[in-house]
């Protein structure tokens, strides 16, 4: 791709806050330079120009699949794209809107928020796009980090797959020499299990990590996080909520939720027998 033709790119969003596209627009000083290196075929948030049938070298997709409309749109993107890059947590694991997956049915959500039946709209339980189509690269974050996007884009322009970050926030926190909020203050920091790349922004401001970049797939020890926080005196519901903010679709967290709810059910049952 180096010097011949400009790669054709499309920037799409499914259900989410639009923050990952916005982070691209937030690259103000280099935005025009950056975009000029591509042929933009679709960028709904910033342009009215689109070629709906055009083949794409790269499709950047943000947002979760939360409706049947999302899913159809995603499938069409997949058909026309050589490479799909999921940008942001929504597109990777569903982000905050997946917080109650497995805990609260779509029926219940519809009733609570809209006061109508589930078939009133075409909703689906929110999931990342890799649950439905093949995804070549994931760039995590809520929102994504500009530096990481830029690194990914330059790598791709160069012809390489960017290296993915698969170590936790603790690493960057220590590289910056921030005092450990978990060890020193007993704050419920999720740094040990959350994907780095943010340069430990929150600990740098004295705030415990809430996990907005999601756990590291097949690596994070979420059971240990639960144990550590229980020992520090937090209750199970509090910890689970926290793990779920951005990890509702994460397999190990779902397992943990199940284990805990079964345990508490068991506890309730035995209480009932006692009385």
């Amino acid at each position: 791709m180096t010097n011949t033709q400009k790669p054709k790119i499309g920037i799409f969003s499914l259900t989410g806050c639009g923050g990952d596209q916005l982070m691209i627009l937030n690259l103000e000083p280099i935005l025009l330079d950056l975009l000029s290196r591509f042929e933009i075929k679709d960028f709904q948030e910033a342009s009215s120009y689109k070629e709906e049938e055009a083949e794409l070298d790269i499709a950047l997709v943000e947002g979760s699949v939360s409706t049947k409309t999302d899913l159809e749109k995603l499938k069409k993107i997949r058909e026309r794209s050589k490479m799909i890059i999921a940008i942001g947590d929504c597109a990777i694991g569903g982000c905050v809107q997946a917080m109650r997956n497995g805990q609260m049915s779509m029926e219940e959500r519809m009733r609570k928020v809209y006061g109508v039946d589930v078939d009133y709209y075409d909703v689906l339980e929110p999931k990342g796009i890799s649950s439905y189509v093949n995804v070549e690269l994931e760039i995590p974050g809520c929102p994504i980090e500009k530096s990481q996007v830029l690194h990914a884009i330059t790598s791709l322009l160069h012809g390489d797959m960017p290296e993915e970050i698969d170590y936790p926030v603790c690493v960057e926190c220590k590289l910056n020499g921030y005092p450990c909020l978990l060890v020193e203050k007993g704050l419920p920091c999720l740094g040990p299990i959350i994907t780095a790349g943010c340069d430990a922004r929150c600990p740098g401001l004295g705030l415990d990590c809430i996990g907005c970049r999601g756990p590291i797939r097949d690596e994070s020890n979420v059971a240990a996080e639960l144990e550590v926080l229980l020992e520090k005196g937090y209750d199970e519901e509090y910890i689970l909520n926290r793990l779920r903010f951005f990890g509702g679709n994460f397999e190990d967290i779902q397992k943990l939720t199940k284990r805990i709810s079964e345990k508490s059910k068991g506890r309730r049952n035995s209480h009932e027998e006692d009385s």
């Binding site: 790598s155 012809g159 390489d160 797959m161 290296e163």
Partner: protein, 294 residues
């Protein structure tokens, strides 16, 4: 202060970049900095850190004996970011090199002995250097036996070169054996029909059935995928080889090549080794003393 910066690479121009298989290229490089070229003295089994600007570096073993001061031959398999990038480059393009690193094979120690070279797949690359060195210094070594295990005919590296040895090596006291893993491979089958005493289907250790290997006055040199070492060593130990006379070269993540970055560390508290500087060539004795080495 006049300390040389060992982390800064030197440019080398690609003279030749030929596909040997779908995933392996033979690359010839000309070292551009002639002062650097002079210092760049290497022996078989050593490796270089090869860099592509903007992508990174990867350790690549040198696949030929040193013939000319500024010339370097590498065999690059496309397996990761850096090697993918190397594959994209064309003659005339620049690679950045550091090295040579590692201990290499002790060719002098082996002088006066027979050589048994056992290679699997890409493992033939460093052994090609050993073979070339021994052939250029033919009088210094006894019988040379090569056992080369491949997956199929098209996966055979330096095919013309090695087929010539396969057919005519005996003239030069080189016995070349070939095994292939895909039994349905027609071309390999034809080779086997032609020379059933030198070629058979199966893993490389099957070749021990064709050749009676004796430990006396013989050094074994092994290179191949990690899984291969155990089985080859087993065969050699059955035949009473001295663990100190079995050489093997290991693969690890040798990021710096200088014993600093720590990625290639291996062993237990009793014996920790950096593969990049203590190796990558080790004896089987080292492996027995160093947990987790093979």
């Amino acid at each position: 202060m006049s300390v040389r910066n060992v982390l800064v690479p030197s440019p080398a121009r690609i003279l030749k970049s030929e596909d040997m298989t779908d995933i392996e290229k033979h690359i010839e490089l000309e070292i551009l900095d002639k002062e650097f070229a002079k210092r760049f003295v290497y022996k078989p089994g050593q490796f270089v850190e090869v860099g592509v600007m903007g992508v990174g570096e990867a350790p690549i073993s040198i696949c030929a004996a040193r013939k000319k001061e500024d010339l370097l031959e590498l065999c690059v398999r496309k397996v990761g970011r850096v090697t993918n990038a190397i594959h994209r480059l064309k003659p005339g393009d620049i690679l950045w090199i550091r090295g040579p690193y590692g201990n290499g094979f002790p060719m002098e120690n082996m002088e006066g002995s027979n050589l048994l070279l056992v290679a699997g797949g890409l493992g033939i690359a460093p052994l090609r250097g050993v073979l070339q060195y021994a052939l250029t210094n033919r009088e210094k070594y006894g019988t040379i036996t090569v056992m080369y295990g491949i997956r199929c005919y098209t996966a055979m590296l330096w095919r013309d070169e090695f087929l010539q040895l396969f057919y005519e090596g005996d003239k030069n006291n080189v016995e070349f054996f070939l095994s292939y893993e895909d039994p349905s491979d027609k071309q390999c089958y034809e080779l086997q029909c032609e020379r059933s005493d030198r070629c058979m289907s199966g893993v490389v250790t099957k070749l021990f059935e064709l050749k009676e290997v004796k430990p006396e006055n013989t050094y074994a040199v092994i290179c191949g995928p990690p899984i291969m070492y155990k089985f080859v060593v087993q065969e050699l130990m059955k035949r009473n080889f001295d663990p100190r006379k079995i050489y093997m070269t290991l693969e690890r993540r040798m990021k710096c090549g200088l014993g600093k970055c720590g990625h290639c560390i291996v062993g237990s508290g009793r014996n920790m080794k950096f593969v990049c500087k203590d190796g990558p060539v080790f004896t089987y004795w080292d492996a027995l003393m160093t947990k987790g080495m093979i």
